[in-house]
Subunit: 233 residues, 2 copies
């Protein structure tokens, strides 16, 4: 059985995303520069995000609430209202940021959509992800869009059932070993890892994947058509 | 053609929800009681929510960011860090609140699920709604769950297409004229309005529905089986 459905992660696979968080976090550190070193702020913000993940889940609004909580904590409550407002304004700018496509994405999708069923599987805030797909100009390439709250073997299995796709027909492409690659390989489907220069530490981990069946790695999406040809042999 | 698929709104149709916001808003007003009257705070918070809807969308995290922004504005930046933290704690309590079913819901769903395909169509935060459905104990009654960012004629039409449902086979049930009733009637499907004692003013409006074809109104879900029998005649 050969690949018929190719699913793409969105953030940092189709378009830049982590860079928006990095930029916001830089502004956040400038706001608190009188109180603490950048390293200390980074570390505490990450701890707050991890602690809040069970409450808030992923996405920009969750990040905003964690920035605010971190600011209160690291200033021992001394943060002024105007600076809280600045954090909210940073958040609004993040939500309104342009969708900046990664290299080769538009060409590759246009090229593949006649041969394969293409879909997006992304996690995070429903509305934010919908708006980005709409603004990306890529929507017409995708037959299906699935926005999930967590990427686990169960959530992938539910999507395959919903569209009646066999694991052997399914290929997932993304920049997160934790979210895009490992759960898909666990189902017996195939996955292509496309590392991104900036990847949130929560999504990396040092899990070795190596020579598992169904695992592939490319440097950018422009190499995907070539890889697919080699799989068809 | 007769009704085959019954879709339920979730918040304030299956379980209490607005009461959680009302309780949170009461605590928020107590926090700002030194600065302003409850009426003034209510009015400004609602204005902030409406202004932020385009940025943040619906849900508890959006409400949290609007409470924080309102607190900064109404205290002219004088709000202290400890009170900002209290707003975040109010938010976490909202997200962790028990799912409190409305009367007759569990019985009615158990009763109907053998005869009809039941689904949930709800809007708001993806993760929050998924967790509530899981915690409600109702998940097994529903064949499909659809969480959307906005309930419009287009979003309902997309769901009907996805599951190959004709409008004449489809009945939507909910407490919001704006979100659950009017867009569904516009598609030529049927809708049952079940008013809830507490409904967010954004969801009400004074749109007259009256005697439109396909429009029904009941007082609680316990009256639904009787209504369905009358439709089959």
């Amino acid at each position: 059985m050969s690949i018929e459905v190719i699913a793409f992660d969105a953030d940092d696979t189709l378009w830049h995303n982590e860079s928006i968080y990095v930029e916001a976090q830089t502004q956040f550190k400038q706001l608190l520069a009188h109180y603490h070193s950048p390293e200390w702020i980074d570390e505490h913000l990450y701890q707050t995000e991890m602690r809040n993940l069970a409450h808030f889940g992923y996405g920009i609004k969750s990040f905003a609430l964690s920035m605010i909580e971190t600011a209160v904590e690291l200033t021992e409550g001394q943060i002024i209202g105007a600076d809280i407002q600045k954090i909210i304004d940073i958040t609004k700018a993040m939500l309104a940021a342009d969708v900046d496509l990664l290299d080769h994405v538009a060409d590759t999708l246009a090229n593949l959509q006649d041969v394969y069923t293409l879909m997006v599987i992304t996690k995070g805030d429903l509305r934010d992800q919908e708006l980005k797909i709409a603004r990306s100009g890529l929507a017409s390439h995708f037959r299906y869009v699935e926005i999930v709250s967590e990427k686990s073997p169960d959530s992938y299995a539910a999507i395959l059932r919903r569209y009646d796709i066999e694991p052997a027909q399914f290929l997932m492409i993304g920049n997160s070993l934790r979210s895009d690659i490992l759960p898909v390989l666990e189902l017996g489907a195939s996955a292509v890892y496309v590392p991104h220069q900036l990847t949130w530490v929560h999504e990396t981990g040092d899990t070795p994947v190596g020579e598992q069946p169904g695992y592939y790695e490319i440097e950018h999406l422009g190499q995907l058509p070539e890889l697919l040809k080699s799989l068809d042999r």
